[in-house]
C-alpha cells in the first residue's frame, strides 16, 4: 500500500496527529459547534448546525473513502458493536452530551475558544473513561458482548455492493439537507 513509510514512522505520526488535530479544531470552531448554545440547540431541535456539519462530513468523507478503498489506497477501520455496548453506551453518552453541552472533540475546541466549563468537562471525561476502564473486565463479561451485531458494515449486513449503499446514503443525505433548508431550520 502507498504511504507505508510515513504510516510506520512514529515521530512523523505524532506531528501529523497534531496537524490534523489543529485543522479539525479550527474547523469545529469556525462551524460554531464548539459552542454550548449550538450543541444544546441541536438537542432541543431548534438549531440544526451540528446535524448539517455531520451530514456534510459523512457525505464527503464516505464518497472519498470508498473511492480510495476501491483504488487500493486505504482500508476500512469499521468496528463491530452490540446492543450491550453500542446501544447502552450510546444512551449514556447522549445523557452526558446534554448535561455537559459539549462532546469529547468539541469540549477540547471549546477550551481553545475560552470556555472554562469545558476544562471541567474534559476532566470529567477523563474520570469517566477511568471509571469505565476499572469496570471493563466486569462489563466485558456480563454486558458488552450481549446482542452482537451480525455484520460490521451496512453493505455486509445487506449483502449488496458498497457502491450501491454509498449512492443511496448520498442521496438520502442530500435529501435531508435540502429538507432542512426548505423548512428554514
Amino acid at each position: 500500500m502507498a504511504f507505508d513509510t510515513i504510516r510506520s514512522n512514529k515521530s512523523a505520526q505524532i506531528v501529523l496527529g497534531l496537524l490534523i488535530g489543529i485543522a479539525f479544531g479550527f474547523l469545529l470552531q469556525k462551524g460554531g459547534v464548539t459552542e454550548y448554545a449550538v450543541i444544546i440547540g441541536q438537542l432541543l431541535l431548534t438549531d440544526f448546525t451540528v446535524v448539517k456539519v455531520m451530514l456534510a462530513a459523512i457525505l464527503v468523507g464516505m464518497v472519498g473513502i470508498y473511492a480510495m478503498k476501491a483504488a487500493g489506497l486505504v482500508r476500512l477501520h469499521s468496528k463491530g458493536g452490540s446492543v450491550g455496548a453500542t446501544v447502552i453506551g450510546g444512551l449514556i453518552f447522549g445523557a452526558g452530551f446534554a448535561v455537559l453541552g459539549y462532546c469529547p472533540g468539541t469540549a477540547a475546541g471549546a477550551i481553545g475558544s475560552g470556555a472554562l466549563d469545558a476544562v471541567v468537562g474534559v476532566l470529567g471525561i477523563v474520570i469517566g473513561a477511568g471509571i469505565f476502564a476499572r469496570l471493563f473486565p466486569y462489563l466485558d463479561r456480563v454486558i458488552l458482548n450481549r446482542g452482537a451485531f451480525p455484520a460490521d458494515t451496512i453493505p455486509e449486513l445487506l449483502g449488496v455492493r458498497p457502491a450501491l449503499v454509498v449512492g443511496i446514503v448520498a442521496v438520502l443525505i442530500v435529501g435531508v439537507l435540502a429538507m432542512l433548508a426548505m423548512l428554514g431550520l
Binding site: 488535530g21 469499521s78 481553545g112 477523563v126
Partner: protein, 177 residues
C-alpha cells in the same frame, strides 16, 4: 484569504466538507479514523500509571488502549490549538465559565455550572468508552465507513441527548409547534 480565515463562522456545509476531507487525509497518511475519545482513555491510563505503574499495566483496558502520547492523543491537543487559532484570528476568543444559555435557564452561579459540567463529563466519558467511540469516532468517521455499530451509536447519542436536554430545558420544538 485572511478575511476568510478571520470570519467568525463558516457555512456548516463547508466545515463539514472540510472535516470529510480531513478524514481522507487521516486514512491516507496515518491509516486511522479520526476520533477524540480514545485520547481520554489514554489520559486516564496515564493517571493510573502515575499512581501505580504495576497496577495500570495489569489492567486489561490499558493493554488495549496503551497510556502513551501518540497520534490519537495529539489530535485532542491539536483541537485545542486549532480552535484557539480560529477564535483568536476572528476576535471571538473570550474567557467565561457559565455559558449565557445555561445562566439564563438555571443560574449564573459558576459553582452550579462546574458541578453540572463535571457530572456531564463523567457520564460522557463512561458512555463514549462503553459504546467504543464518540461523536467524532462513531458519529463521523464510523458512519462514513457505513459501520452498522456507528449508525446505531449515533442514533442512541441523539436519542439520549434529545431526551435529557428536553428534561432539562423543556421540549421547545414540540411545545412550540
Amino acid at each position: 484569504m485572511f478575511t476568510w480565515l478571520a470570519m467568525a463562522t463558516w457555512s456548516p456545509y463547508i466545515v463539514g466538507a472540510g472535516i470529510g476531507v480531513l478524514v481522507w487525509v487521516a486514512f491516507l497518511v496515518s491509516d486511522r479514523p479520526l476520533g477524540a475519545s480514545t485520547a481520554y482513555a489514554k489520559t486516564a491510563g496515564m493517571v493510573e500509571s502515575a499512581l501505580s505503574r504495576k497496577k495500570a499495566a495489569a489492567m486489561p483496558y490499558y493493554r488495549k488502549f496503551t497510556p502513551t502520547v501518540d497520534w490519537q492523543w495529539m489530535i485532542v491537543v491539536g483541537i485545542v490549538i486549532g480552535a484557539f487559532l480560529s477564535a483568536w484570528i476572528s476576535g471571538t476568543f473570550s474567557v467565561f465559565i457559565v455559558p449565557p444559555l445555561f445562566a439564563g435557564a438555571f443560574s449564573a452561579d459558576p459553582l452550579l455550572r462546574i458541578v453540572v459540567a463535571l457530572i456531564g463529563g463523567v457520564l460522557m466519558g463512561i458512555g463514549a468508552r462503553w459504546a467504543g467511540g464518540c461523536t467524532s469516532g462513531h458519529g463521523i468517521s464510523g458512519t462514513l465507513q457505513l459501520s452498522v455499530a456507528s449508525w446505531v451509536a449515533v442514533v442512541c447519542f441523539f436519542a439520549g441527548g434529545i431526551f435529557v436536554a428536553g428534561l432539562m430545558f423543556g421540549f421547545p420544538f414540540f411545545s412550540g409547534v
